[in-house]
C-alpha cells in the first residue's frame, strides 16, 4: 500500500473527491432512513398503553437498532477521513446541538435495553421516558444541526428548526410504515392514522421550509431549490407521500413501506444537492478544496469501499434473519 502501489500525487480516478462526497452522503442517507424508523418507533411507543403492543414495538426494532445506529458513526468518520476541515468545523460550530444530539441518542438507545432488564413498574417507566424523549430529541436536534449546516442560519431560526421538525415527521412516517408492515391488524390499523397524519405534516413542512429558504435566500440556497433537480426531488417526494397514503388506505403495507422509506432518502438527496459543491457554506469551501490529499483518499477508497459492500451484505443478512411478522416478546437470550 505504499507509493508504488497507490498513486500519491493523483486520485485513482479524477472524480474521486465527488465519489467520496456521494459516499458520505450515502452514509448520511442510510442513517436517516434506518435510524429514522427507530426514532419513529420510539415516538409511536408513547401512544401505546397495552403491554403486548409495547412489546411488539420493541421486538420490531430490538435486533436491528444498534446496527442502524452505527451509520451515524460511519457518516462521521467518513466525513473526517475525506473532509476533515468540514468535520471539525461543523461539529465545533454546532457544539451544543451536537452534544445534545449524542446525549439524546444515548438515552434513546438505553431506554428499551434497560427497560427489559427488570420487571419493575417504576424502573420501566423511567426508561420509557428515556426511550421516547431520546427518540423525539435526537432527530429534532440532528435535523436542526443539518438545517444550520446547509442553510448557514442560527439555531433559533425557521429554516433550522423546520429542518428538525421535518426530520421528526419523516421518522414517524417510516416508523409507522415499518411496524405496520411487520404487525397484525389491530395495531397496524391503529398506527396507520399516525402515518398518514405524519406524511401530510412532512410534505407540508418541506414546502414551508423550502419556501422560507427561497424567500430569505438562506445560505444562498434559493437558486438550487428553484433548479430542475431540486424540483424533481420535491415532486418525487410528493408522489411518494401521496402515493403512500393511497397504498396504506388500500392496506398494501409492504408497498407503503417502500414509498415511506423513499421520503428520507429523497430528503438526504436534497441535502446533498444543496451542499454541492460548497460543502460547508460558512467557510465557502468546495468539495475539491476540502478533500484530503490523493494518497489518503486513494487508500480509504481501496480499503473502505470493499468494506462498505461487505457492510451492506451484513445488513441484507440481518434483515433477512429478522424478516416477516413480529412474533413473541423476542427478548430471550
Amino acid at each position: 500500500m505504499t507509493e508504488t502501489l497507490l498513486p500519491a500525487d493523483a486520485y485513482l480516478v479524477d472524480v474521486l473527491p465527488e465519489v467520496w462526497f456521494a459516499a458520505v452522503m450515502f452514509a448520511l442517507a442510510m442513517y436517516v432512513v434506518l435510524d429514522g424508523f427507530d426514532f419513529g418507533i420510539g415516538m409511536l411507543y408513547a401512544t401505546r398503553e397495552d403491554e403486548h403492543e409495547k412489546e411488539t414495538l420493541l421486538t420490531a426494532f430490538g435486533p436491528i437498532w444498534d446496527a442502524n445506529e452505527v451509520w451515524i458513526v460511519a457518516f462521521g468518520t467518513m466525513l473526517l477521513a475525506a473532509f476533515p476541515r468540514v468535520y471539525s468545523r461543523v461539529l465545533a460550530d454546532h457544539y451544543l446541538l451536537a452534544i445534545g444530539f449524542v446525549l439524546a441518542l444515548l438515552f434513546r438507545g438505553l431506554g428499551p435495553e434497560m427497560r427489559e432488564q427488570r420487571d419493575d413498574e417504576r424502573w420501566q417507566r423511567y426508561w420509557e421516558y428515556s426511550f421516547v424523549g431520546g427518540s423525539v430529541l435526537a432527530p429534532l436536534l440532528f435535523g436542526t444541526l443539518a438545517g444550520r449546516w446547509v442553510f448557514d442560519v442560527p439555531t433559533l431560526s425557521l429554516p433550522a428548526l423546520m429542518t428538525g421538525g421535518v426530520l421528526v415527521a419523516v421518522s414517524v412516517v417510516t416508523g409507522t410504515a415499518f411496524v405496520t408492515a411487520k404487525s397484525e391488524p389491530p395495531l397496524a390499523s391503529d398506527l396507520r392514522t399516525y402515518g398518514i397524519a405524519a406524511t401530510l405534516a412532512y410534505l407540508g413542512g418541506v414546502v414551508v421550509l423550502l419556501a422560507t429558504v427561497v424567500r430569505t435566500d438562506a445560505g444562498g440556497a434559493a437558486d438550487t431549490i428553484l433548479s430542475l433537480p431540486a424540483g424533481a426531488i420535491v415532486l418525487l417526494s410528493v408522489i411518494a407521500g401521496i402515493g403512500g397514503i393511497v397504498l396504506v388506505r388500500r392496506g398494501r403495507y409492504r408497498a407503503w413501506l417502500v414509498s415511506a422509506l423513499a421520503l428520507p432518502a429523497l430528503l438526504s438527496l436534497l441535502v446533498a444537492l444543496l451542499l454541492y459543491p460548497t460543502i460547508y457554506p460558512p467557510t465557502g469551501l468546495t468539495v475539491r478544496e476540502a478533500v484530503v490529499s490523493p494518497l489518503a483518499l486513494n487508500l480509504v477508497t481501496v480499503l473502505g469501499f470493499p468494506a462498505l459492500l461487505l457492510v451492506l451484505w451484513y445488513f441484507k443478512f440481518l434483515y433477512g434473519v429478522f424478516s416477516g411478522p413480529i412474533e413473541g416478546s423476542g427478548y430471550e437470550t
Binding site: 505504499t2 435486533p63 436491528i64 444498534d66 446496527a67 445506529e69 451515524i72 458513526v73 460511519a74 462521521g76 468518520t77 467518513m78 473526517l80 477521513a81 476533515p84 476541515r85 468535520y87 471539525s88 461543523v90 461539529l91 465545533a92 457544539y95 451544543l96 451536537a98 452534544i99 449524542v102 446525549l103 441518542l105 444515548l106 438507545g109 438505553l110 434497560m114 432488564q117 427488570r118 419493575d120 417504576r122 424502573w123 417507566r125 423511567y126 421516558y129 478544496e289 476540502a290 484530503v292 490529499s293 489518503a296 487508500l299 480509504v300 480499503l303 473502505g304 468494506a307 461487505l310 457492510v311 451484513y314 443478512f317 440481518l318 434473519v321 429478522f322 423476542g330 427478548y331 437470550t333
Partner: protein, 482 residues
C-alpha cells in the same frame, strides 16, 4: 469543584466556569474512562462468549447453556453501554478538539472510518443475531455469529490503537499548508498505521482487557460458588478464569517490561515521569513508594518519599541491561506531563499486575490440589479482586495518555493548540457537568444490573436471596388511567 463549575455555567458572569481547554480535557478524559470499561468488557468477554456458545451448541450440556446465557446478557448490556458512551466520544474530536481533527484528519480519519465499517458494524449486526436469533439461524451460523462479534471487538481495538499509537509515535506524514492551516499529509501509510508503538499497545491493551474480564468472571463465579459450593457451572467458570489468568497475568508483566523499555526509547519524557526522574543520570527503580507529606503526593520527588528502590535498575530497564546507563530527566524539558498522575498511576498498575500474578498462582496451586472451590479464603480474595483488573487498566491508560502531555500528537501538536477556539467556558463546563452526571448514572445502572443478574442466578440455584428486586427510585407521576 463541579458545583462551582455548575454555578458558573448556570450564571454566566460569575466567571467560575472552567476554561474551554481544562473542561474539554476533563470531559474527554472522563468519557473515555467510562467508555474504556465497556469497550474492554467487549474485548475481554468475547473469547468467553465464543467458548460458552460453542460448547453449548455442541454439547447441549446445561451448565454451558447457563454460562452462555448469563454472560451474553452481561455482554449485551456492556455493548449497549459501550455504544452509547462511544458515539459521543467519536464526535468529541470535532466538538472539543477540532484543531486536532483538522491537523490529523488525513491520518486518523481512515482508521476511524475503518473501525466503523470493518469492526463496529460487524459487532452490532451479529450481536443482533446472537441475542435474538437463536431460533432463527442454524447452530453453525449461531456459533459463527459469536465469533464474528468477537472479531468485531478485537478489530475495533486494532483500528483505535492504530490511531492512538500514531499519536504517541507519529510518522508517515509531512506537514503542509492547506486552506491556510498547517496540517499533516499522509506520505507513507504503512509507516503511519504500523508505527513501532502499535504492536506494544495492542498486545498490552487486549491482554489487559482479558485479565480484567477474567478477574470479573472469577469474582462473580467465586461469589456464586461461595454462596453455593456445588454450583457446577460456576465452579467450571471459576476454574476457566483462573487458568486464563495463569497465562495472561505473567505475560502482561513480561510484555510490560519490554514495553517500558520501548517507551524509554521513544518517549523518554513519559518514562521519566513514570519514575519521577528529574535529574538526568542513573535511574533507580522505586519498587514501593509512600509519600511523606501531602506535597509528596502532588510532587513525587525521591527526597519526599519513603521508597524501597533498586539502585540503577531504572537505567537497567530503560537501556536493556546497563545499570549505569544515563536516563534523561524531566528537567531537560520545558514542559512536563503532570508527573504525580503518571507516577502514582504507574505504581498502581504495576502493583496490581503483580497482585494478579499472585492470585493466579495461588489459584493454580488450588486447582492442582483439587481444592479451588473449597477455599473460602481464595473465593473471598477473588470476589475482592473482581474490580481491580479495571483499576489497573484505567491507571495504565492514564500513564499512556497523561504521560504524553503536553502533546496530543507527540512532538507535533500541543493539546492546548488542539482545543476548539470557538468553544466558550460556559458551554464547555455545562457539557462537562452533563457528561459527569449522565455517565456516573450509567455506571451505577450497570452495577445494579450486574447485581440483579447475579441474584437471579442465585435464585435459580435455590439460594435464598433477600427479595430486594424493587427499584427504589423516586416515584414517577402516574396518570389516572394507567
Amino acid at each position: 469543584m463541579f458545583l462551582t463549575a455548575l454555578s458558573g455555567a448556570l450564571i454566566p458572569g460569575w466567571a467560575l466556569q472552567l476554561s474551554p481547554e481544562v473542561a474539554s480535557r476533563a470531559q474527554f478524559g472522563w468519557t473515555i474512562s467510562v467508555h474504556i470499561i465497556f469497550a474492554a468488557l467487549s474485548v475481554g468477554l468475547a473469547p468467553f462468549i465464543v467458548y460458552f456458545t460453542w460448547k453449548d451448541v455442541r454439547t447441549d450440556v446445561e451448565r454451558f447453556t447457563r454460562l452462555r446465557s448469563f454472560w451474553v446478557k452481561v455482554f449485551a448490556v456492556g455493548f449497549v453501554m459501550g455504544t452509547v458512551t462511544g458515539i459521543p466520544m467519536s464526535f468529541q474530536f470535532g466538538t472539543n478538539f477540532p484543531q486536532f481533527a483538522e491537523v490529523a484528519g488525513e491520518l486518523i480519519g481512515g482508521p476511524l472510518a475503518f473501525e466503523a465499517k470493518m469492526a463496529f458494524f460487524l459487532e452490532a449486526v451479529f450481536l443482533g443475531v446472537l441475542l435474538f436469533g437463536r431460533e432463527r439461524v442454524s447452530d453453525r451460523t449461531y456459533v459463527l455469529s459469536s465469533v464474528l462479534v468477537g472479531v468485531g471487538a478485537w478489530l475495533s481495538a486494532f483500528w483505535i490503537l492504530i490511531v492512538n499509537a500514531w499519536m504517541q509515535t507519529p510518522r508517515g506524514y509531512e506537514m503542509v499548508t492547506r486552506n491556510g492551516m498547517e496540517v499533516a499529509k499522509l506520505t507513507d501509510p504503512i509507516a503511519a498505521f504500523f508505527t513501532p508503538r502499535m504492536p506494544w499497545m495492542y498486545l498490552h491493551m487486549v491482554n489487559a482487557s482479558v485479565i480484567s474480564v477474567s478477574l470479573l468472571v472469577a469474582g462473580v463465579s467465586a461469589y456464586i460458588v461461595w454462596k453455593k459450593h456445588d454450583a457446577m457451572a460456576w465452579n467450571a467458570a471459576l476454574r476457566l478464569a483462573v487458568l486464563i489468568l495463569l497465562v495472561t497475568a505473567p505475560l502482561q508483566a513480561i510484555h510490560g517490561d519490554a514495553y517500558g523499555r520501548h517507551v524509554a526509547d521513544t518517549q523518554p519524557q513519559k518514562f521519566a515521569a513514570m519514575e519521577a526522574h528529574y535529574e538526568t543520570g542513573t535511574a533507580d527503580l522505586h519498587l514501593l513508594a509512600f509519600p511523606k507529606s501531602v506535597d509528596a503526593i502532588t510532587d513525587p520527588r525521591a527526597e519526599n518519599l519513603f521508597t524501597v528502590s533498586l539502585p540503577g535498575v531504572g537505567s537497567f530497564l530503560a537501556s536493556g541491561g546497563d545499570f549505569d546507563a544515563e536516563v534523561l530527566g524531566l528537567n531537560e524539558y520545558d514542559e512536563s506531563p503532570p508527573v504525580a498522575f503518571v507516577f502514582w498511576s504507574f505504581r498502581f498498575m504495576v502493583g496490581l499486575g503483580f497482585l494478579f500474578i499472585g492470585l493466579a498462582l495461588w489459584g493454580g496451586y488450588l486447582i492442582y490440589r483439587g481444592r479451588l472451590s473449597e477455599s473460602d479464603r481464595y473465593l473471598k480474595a477473588m470476589i475482592a479482586a473482581s474490580p481491580l483488573g479495571y483499576t489497573a487498566l484505567l491507571t495504565g491508560w492514564y500513564v499512556t495518555e497523561i504521560g504524553r502531555q503536553p502533546w496530543v500528537i507527540q512532538g507535533e501538536l500541543a493539546t492546548s493548540e488542539a482545543v476548539s477556539t470557538t468553544l466558550n467556558g460556559t458551554e464547555a463546563t455545562l457539557t462537562l457537568v452533563g457528561f459527569v452526571v449522565v455517565y456516573l448514572g450509567l455506571i451505577l445502572v450497570a452495577l445494579h444490573i450486574l447485581r440483579w443478574f447475579v441474584e437471579d442466578e442465585l435464585r435459580e440455584l435455590g439460594v435464598e436471596v433477600p427479595s430486594d428486586d424493587r427499584w427504589y427510585g423516586p416515584v414517577p407521576k402516574v396518570s389516572d388511567d394507567d
